[in-house]
Amino acid sequence: MRLNELSPGTKAFVKKVHARGMISQRLRDFGFFPGVEVEVLRCSPLKDPVEFLVESNFISIRHEEAHCVEVTE
């Protein structure tokens, strides 16, 4: 399952980041590592982007980028 498929209020664990270069770098900077818990907080009023809570960091990501993160429940 991918991160963009989760709905607000749910939690999941990062399994793998399927990306290279700058985007994977950015995701790692904010703590998207295997085994880390991610909580989906809310969608923007226009649906995209989405705000997540990752290890006490509030991060907003577009669907496009969230698609790169594989998660398990």
Partner: protein, 829 residues
């Protein structure tokens, strides 16, 4: 730098760790503090001395890591590598220490002499996070100092610790399965490039991370470097095949584990707060139904405070500026009968230009204070979060919201702070697109022309016309942004949208105040000086080459005729005696009158007025009798004749000015352009006023005012009346075309300078583009409206409606176009 009396200290840290506040605290200097990821792109320096030692403190840009993917990271890393600071103070947010240690580890790994500063311990306390600085210091082998910079706590300790040194032995992080690969690469590197100037292990790790700067270093090593490169490729391939994981992923994950382990060893979490205050605020502020309401409220408040209230404030400050102008005018050589000495005219036009900028200072103070509050509070990333999707459709970015608002999305903004605010946009393509469309917004200086035209030509539909003009600009700007991103900006770098939503902060008075003053001063300094130069140039262009001898003689004889009729009028009058035998007396009286008029305006109190009158009476009793005749009937008669003379002289002055402008270089250009601008319905007068508006748009109405002189019996009529009675052929359609052209008018000089500055590389080219494309686009639209409108004999209102619908449709179509090379960012890079 190696001087023993001077030490260089660098401040490094992740965004939102309070680094800028720490910088302010230890240097006591003014510095930018923004609660927005990565605002400080330049390196700022402050100097402090401590017991005879000068310490230069450099504030590095906030970075999450030290790769070379982003500009900030490159800047920060290169500073540490090449400037070799005596100490690197790593500021961390104690409440979020695990993430911040991720950077600390990378700093230590590259062998930088690090001192750790555990900042924001108050926030950590509130969240129930306690860090033992002693344990942490021992485990890392470096000094650790705690502080609460927002309250000024820890200042002495930090300043003292700056002089001390720190071990610069690179930290070794265990990379597990990757270790043998690192060892092989390190060995090869040492052997192939003996002159290598960076720590070997660190370099090997960076190479395996695919670090661009390090790869570049390698390519400088010639043939041996290529061999290392080949080995690197095969090692990467081998590792990826063996472990189903790229080396850079493995490296980052190992660092993450190391930071986690480190944090576990020295952090005690006393309470588990389920929801932080920030999260609770966000659930209100970013609420689906309410968020747009809050956003509209914030925008409304911004306009109301800065533009409306700021404008009201200028009513109080303007008299001081006007007094300054009068004071300058009183020092200059007096005006001639119908013309002015060159020095006087030139100086006054420069003073006027500078004052027109200074007049905006109250607005800018409020505006910059509001921006600083928005930045520090943490609301800015929320604005981006709310509107990103809309803007992205047009190639812009959520972070384009603020620049567009400042530029004047509705009515009344200023492109200068708008362009300045684009700095925070992380996506290069969207940033340039925003810089280029911000000037299309409705800045304050465009409004006088709109008001003039709407009042004259859309008298019955004022509201509708203003609605049209305030919304059409954003519609067109979005389309233009999309066109730009599909064409000239196509190859510009795009960045993923991964944005931190920092915790809400209460802005501090010092932080907001100092930044407000700093930015306003920057604006005044930069813009003020340029405006002066431009005013001189525009003066030259609207004055030279001047009138021919013949034309001049015409004015001379009109002057003589006016004087003669004045003399005739007062011939028999005893009060007129002083003027009869002295030919220069009339000129002297006029000068006296001008300076009296100039002076009386400044008089505020009753006593001052008395003294002022006494002074003028003493200066010349005869003249005083003419100016203020009292009950003296003879003097009254002279006064009457004199008033006629003054008024006649006024029209002579104005027609002289018009004559000079129309025969000037700019006037000739306006006439020359007329055949082309006819398509848009602009005559040469409009052309000249538009050309002079290039310096500052405020000029448009002023120039039109000089060109539409009051006619017989129209003295004192407002420009509105003069235009509607004199510009007979000028219809509603003309007005609409002119308004559209003004809406898309190229940026003023001040904005152009900012565009050049903020666009970065090739700034001059972007500046020229932002000058030329609005002219073309505006002219295209204006001539389309005017020519087609005339062809189908539409009224201005009909043409307005049709244009609006077409623009909306166009925007809708453009929002649907997907960029061609829009490969999913993920796998694409």
């Amino acid at each position: 730098m190696g001087n023993s009396a001077e030490l260089v200290v660098a401040l490094a840290g992740q965004p939102n760790c309070g680094k800028s506040t720490v910088f302010n605290m230890i240097t006591g200097g003014r510095q930018h503090v923004a609660n927005y990821p990565g605002v400080t792109v330049d390196i700022k320096e402050g100097v402090l001395s401590s017991e005879g030692t000068r310490i230069r403190v450099a504030d590095l840009p906030g970075t999450y890591g030290l790769s070379s993917f982003s500009n900030e990271e490159r800047v920060a890393r290169d500073f540490i590598l090449h400037q070799k600071p005596h100490l690197v103070v790593n500021v961390v947010d104690t409440s979020n220490i695990k993430r911040h240690l991720y950077l600390t580890l990378q700093l230590l790994e590259m062998g930088a002499p690090v001192m750790l500063n555990l900042n924001m311990t108050d926030v950590a306390d509130a969240r129930g996070v306690q860090v033992d600085p002693k344990v942490l210091g021992e485990r890392l082998g470096i000094p650790v100092v705690t502080s609460i910079a927002s309250q000024g706590k820890g200042k002495r300790e930090l300043r003292q610790a700056l002089k001390a040194s720190s071990p610069s032995k690179p930290l070794v992080i265990p990379y597990g399965d990757l270790e043998p690969f690192i060892a092989r690469l390190k060995e090869k590197l040492a052997q192939a490039c003996p002159e290598w100037r960076f720590p070997l292990r660190w370099s090997a790790i960076k190479l395996l991370e695919q670090d661009e700067s390090m790869l570049q270093e390698l390519s400088l090593c010639g043939k041996e470097g290529e061999e290392v490169g080949e080995l690197l490729l095969s090692l990467k391939k081998e590792f990826t095949e063996q472990h189903d994981e790229a080396p850079e992923e493995h490296i980052a994950f190992s660092r993450h584990l190391a930071a986690k382990e480190l944090a576990q060893g020295c952090v005690i979490t006393t309470k588990k707060t389920a929801k932080t205050l920030t999260d609770r605020i966000d659930s209100l502020v970013l609420n689906k139904a309410l968020s747009l309401f809050w956003l509209a409220g914030v925008i409304y408040l911004l306009y109301e405070l800065a533009i409306v209230k700021g404008y009201e404030l200028t009513a109080y400050t303007w008299p001081y500026l006007a007094a300054f102008r009068s004071w300058v005018a009183s020092l200059l050589p007096p005006a001639f009968f119908y013309s002015e000495p060159l020095f006087r005219a030139l100086t006054l036009s420069v003073v006027d230009a500078v004052l027109s900028v200074l007049n905006y200072v109250p607005i800018f103070l409020i505006l910059f204070a509001c921006i600083a509050i928005l930045e520090d509070s943490g609301y800015m990333p929320r604005m981006a979060f709310i509107l990103d999707r809309l803007f992205r459709r047009f190639g812009l970015h959520g972070q384009s919201t603020l620049p567009l608002i400042l530029g004047g999305v509705f009515v009344g903004g200023c492109a200068v702070p708008g362009v300045m605010a684009t700095r925070v946009i992380s996506d290069e393509q969207a940033r340039l697109a925003t810089i280029l469309v911000v000037p299309l917004m409705n800045c304050m200086a465009k409004i006088p022309l709109y008001t003039l035209l709407v009042n004259v030509y859309f008298t019955d539909h004022k509201g509708l016309a203003m609605f049209f003009i305030s919304t059409i600009t954003i519609i067109v700007a979005l389309m233009v942004a999309k066109i730009l991103t599909l064409t000239v900006l196509r190859s510009k770098e795009r960045s993923p949208f991964v944005m931190e939503m920092p915790p809400y902060h209460l802005p501090t008075l010092f932080g907001v105040g100092s930044r407000t003053v700093e930015r306003t001063w920057l604006f005044v300094k930069k813009v003020g000086t340029i405006i002066m130069l431009v005013a001189i140039v525009i003066y030259g262009l609207t004055t030279f080459p001047g009138l021919s001898e013949n034309e001049r003689q015409g004015f001379e004889s009109r002057e003589q005729a006016l004087k003669n009729s004045f003399l005739q009028e007062i011939e028999e009058n005893p009060a007129g005696k002083p003027f009869m035998n002295d030919s220069s007396a009339i000129d002297a009286l006029l000068t006296y009158w001008d300076s009296y008029q100039n002076g009386i305006k400044q008089v505020r109190s009753k006593e001052a007025k008395k003294a002022f009158l006494e002074e003028y009476r003493r200066k010349n009793p005869d003249f005083f009798a003419v100016v203020l005749p009292g009950r003296n009937t003879d003097a009254k008669a002279v006064q009457k004749a004199f008033k006629v003379l003054v008024s006649e002289r006024g029209s002579l002055q104005r027609s002289y000015k018009e004559e000079v402008i129309s025969s000037s270089l700019l006037g000739r250009l306006g006439i020359l352009l007329e055949p082309v601008t006819r398509w848009a319905g602009f005559d040469w007068k409009v052309n000249v006023s538009l050309l002079s508006a290039l310096a500052a748009k405020e000029n448009t109405v002023a120039t039109l005012g000089a060109l539409y002189q009051p006619e017989e019996g129209q003295e004192g009529a407002a420009l509105e009346e003069r235009m509607s009675s004199q510009a007979k052929g000028f219809t509603q359609l003309h007005a609409l075309a002119l308004m559209i052209f003004m809406a898309l008018y190229p940026p003023c000089i001040a904005t152009l300078i900012m565009v050049r500055l903020e666009a970065g590389k090739n700034g001059t080219r972007w500046m020229l583009l932002s000058l030329i494309f609005p002219i073309c686009l505006g002219f295209l639209f204006a001539s389309g409206i005017f020519t087609l409108g005339s062809l189908f004999s539409l009224t201005g209102l009909q043409a307005m409606g049709i244009f609006y619908i077409l623009a909306l449709l166009g925007a809708l179509i453009f929002s649907r176009i997907e960029p061609r090379d829009d490969t999913p960012l993920a796998e694409g890079r």
